[in-house]
């Protein structure tokens, strides 16, 4: 079947009102679900799954994809407005989005988040359509040694989000790495810091840690000093993102999209590290480097491009290999299977109409995302105008519901409270929370892949330099660390002072 035939077959499959309606409704559900902290894109997709059982396969899958895409964008709304990432992928958006909202520029930040998300979405979808086969075979060459080196390199992001003291950033990262060791050991199944409690055996819930670290310290800060906000403008104002903003950030958006495509096509990394990597790359190359973390619109653009760039690309391993790249695609694979479809190489032969139907739907989804997102921003932005001292207790209650709902476990609410106090102490001592979070995500991956590689080789460390991919990431890591150390030594020589952070 030629390309045109396939395209026609795909069109005939999605060329009906239901398919597009499902996609649209999906995006709406996703944006709302993503915007509710704790609900997250993952849960929104999981909740929508049962409704797809009775639908046509393509309609059901488009519905889920709509929820996924909408959810990844929707997460940025509370991240910007109330410093609570609606979905883990949007935690990098907080770094500059919330300061912008504090300055009364929430509308601008939200607008940029939407534009960057949609641009990245288009790039990611195109990458899926054009390079699925090639990227999938590349993904399969990622074994534990390659993963180990990639994650080692990714950990150097920490230098980029450490704020004004690299040492404090490192301390924050170490805390994250240590907390991530809680739970059952991967290789031997023995307990680490679980104190025999079954709730600890599963490790600390990621979303509980995330919300605890970002949202609760704001509440405690308000308790500490209830009138600190009085006199600051927080109203959304009329301001909206300008085309000049977009043009200025365009390079970062495209770079972030490609980072997202790359990390998304490799199963097992997910959107949050991609957003942080995109952010730190944007910061590294930007002229306004000093302004990052204090409300730089380009930072919002880079983070949102990084996480939405993943959304289309995670479908590459899913469709081409039948391998889920993250939790959300694991649920979407369930939807395929319920309809008797087996994602994998054969699907491109047996169900090529469905594949092309999905491609068409994906392209349309970027458009829908833009429409729904614009409306959602107008609806949600009034949150910024609420009286602070009513908003803060409401956020607290919302966080409790959301964190409970993630895993139906009251223990997680306790984890959130405890992490809130850790976050508050870190805030008081000016220790940045972002390195903590990155380390908490990447630490277990680093350790697991290291040990898996050691198991593969019978503890022979040369496996860690077994091929060109590992060489590439080793080289990148060494170059980055040298740059960090040189900048650090330079700052040290210039004498004391809390000057700039060393550039990564």
């Amino acid at each position: 079947m030629s390309f045109l035939d396939s395209l026609a077959a795909g069109l005939s499959l999605v060329g009906n009102i239901e398919a597009f309606l499902a996609l649209f409704i999906g995006v709406v559900i996703g944006v709302i679900g993503g915007a509710i902290p704790g609900m997250s894109a993952t849960m929104a997709v999981a909740l929508t799954l049962p409704f797809t059982f009775a639908m046509q396969p393509i309609t059901g899958i488009l519905l889920l994809l709509g929820v996924y895409k909408g959810g990844i964008f929707g997460g940025s709304i509370p991240a910007i407005l109330i410093k609570t990432p609606g979905t883990p992928a949007s935690s990098a958006t907080i770094l500059d989005g919330y300061p912008l909202a504090e300055r009364g520029e929430a509308g601008r930040a939200l607008g940029m988040a939407l534009w960057a998300s949609c641009t990245a979405d288009v790039i990611s979808n195109l990458a899926l359509i054009l390079f699925a086969g090639w990227l999938a075979s590349f993904a399969l060459s990622f074994g534990p040694p390659e993963f180990f080196t990639l994650i080692l390199f990714s950990l150097t992001i920490i230098a980029g989000v450490s704020g004004d003291s690299l040492l404090r950033g490192a301390l924050s990262a170490l805390l994250g790495l240590l907390l991530a060791t809680i739970g059952l050991d991967l290789v031997y199944g023995t307990n680490r810091f679980t104190f025999g409690d079954p709730n600890m055996m599963g490790g600390l819930n990621f979303i509980a840690v995330l919300i605890g670290l970002f949202a609760i310290p704001e509440i405690l800060a308000m308790v500490w000093h209830p009138t600190a906000h009085v006199g600051k403008t927080r109203s959304l104002g009329k301001n909206w993102v300008s085309f000049a903003d977009y043009r200025r950030s365009f390079k970062s958006i495209v770079r972030g999209s490609f980072i997202g495509v790359f990390l998304g096509s490799i199963p097992g990394i997910g959107a949050a590290p991609s957003a942080f990597l995109s952010y730190s790359e944007a910061r590294r190359t930007s002229k306004n480097r000093e302004n990052f973390g204090k409300g730089e619109i380009e930072g919002v653009a880079a983070s949102e491009a990084g996480n939405n760039g993943v959304a289309g690309a995670t479908l590459i391993p899913l469709l081409a290999l039948g391998v889920p790249g993250d939790v959300i695609t694991a649920i979407i694979i369930g939807a395929f299977m319920i309809h008797g479809l087996q994602p994998g190489p054969m699907m491109f032969i047996l169900n090529v109409d469905i594949i092309y139907g999905l491609f068409i739907g994906l392209i349309v989804s970027s458009l829908f995302l833009f429409m729904v997102g614009s409306v959602a921003i107008r609806g949600f932005k009034y949150v910024a105008d609420l009286p602070r001292r009513i908003l803060i207790p409401a956020v607290l209650v919302l966080c409790i519901y959301g964190v409970f709902a993630v895993n139906n476990n009251i223990f997680d609410v306790g984890v959130m409270f405890a992490m809130g106090w850790v976050g508050f102490v870190m805030m008081r001592y000016r220790v940045p929370p972002a390195p903590f979070l990155i380390a908490f995500i990447l630490g277990p991956l680093l350790e697991d892949n290291f040990r898996q590689a050691m198991l593969m080789s019978g503890s022979d460390p040369t496996i860690l330099i077994r091929g060109p991919i590992t060489w590439f990431f080793w080289a990148m890591t060494v170059v980055t660390i040298v740059a960090i150390v040189r900048a650090g030594v330079g700052a040290f020589r210039r004498g004391p002072g809390r000057g700039r952070a060393p550039e990564a």
């Binding site: 000093h225 209650v397 519901y401």
Partner: protein, 163 residues
């Protein structure tokens, strides 16, 4: 707090944490099977590495702190660290503990209503009536959404049971 104090306290804290981990926490609370073939595969390996790095970072912070000028003023003054602030913070800690105790007993809706009101008055809201109305409504709306739209089994109390 001056920059110097921040660095020094964090540094000392990190060193203390590293020592605590290496001497007490890891040996006692990380179990490792007896037949581990290679040291790098042991469940203990990674925590010890982290403890080592924490110690080094602590040393770095202490050295950096000592190099700071002692009279270096803090970037933000902290004139709110007085009695009432500490009392409010302690109050919030108590509320959180009570919340954890009450959640399985009173149910999530009642507990969060009380927590909402308590927090709003703790931060001395200027809109007490609005606060009370919100304290009643927000948990109910969230319950409606999570329990009936999202199908989550929100904890019900022993006092009242919502539909």
């Amino acid at each position: 707090m001056t920059e110097r104090q921040v660095q020094l306290r964090l540094g000392v804290g990190a060193i203390a944490m590293a020592l605590f981990l290496a001497a007490i926490a890891i040996p006692n609370w990380v179990s490792s099977p007896s037949n581990v073939g290679n040291i790098v595969l042991s469940p203990l390996f990674w925590p010890y590495v982290l403890a080592g790095f924490a110690g080094l970072t602590g040393l770095g912070l202490v050295i950096a702190g000592l190099r700071e000028a002692a009279q270096d003023p803090a970037p933000e003054t902290d004139d709110h660290a007085h009695g009432p602030a500490w009392r409010r913070l302690a109050g919030m800690a108590v509320f959180m503990l009570l919340t954890m105790y009450a959640l399985p007993r009173l149910g999530m809706v009642l507990t969060t209503m009380l927590l909402f009101a308590a927090t709003a008055f703790l931060v001395r809201t200027r809109h007490p009536v609005t606060a009370v109305i919100c304290a009643l409504l927000v948990p109910l709306v969230l319950y409606g959404f999570f329990a009936h739209v999202a199908g989550v089994a929100i904890p019900q109390g022993e006092v009242i049971r919502l539909p």
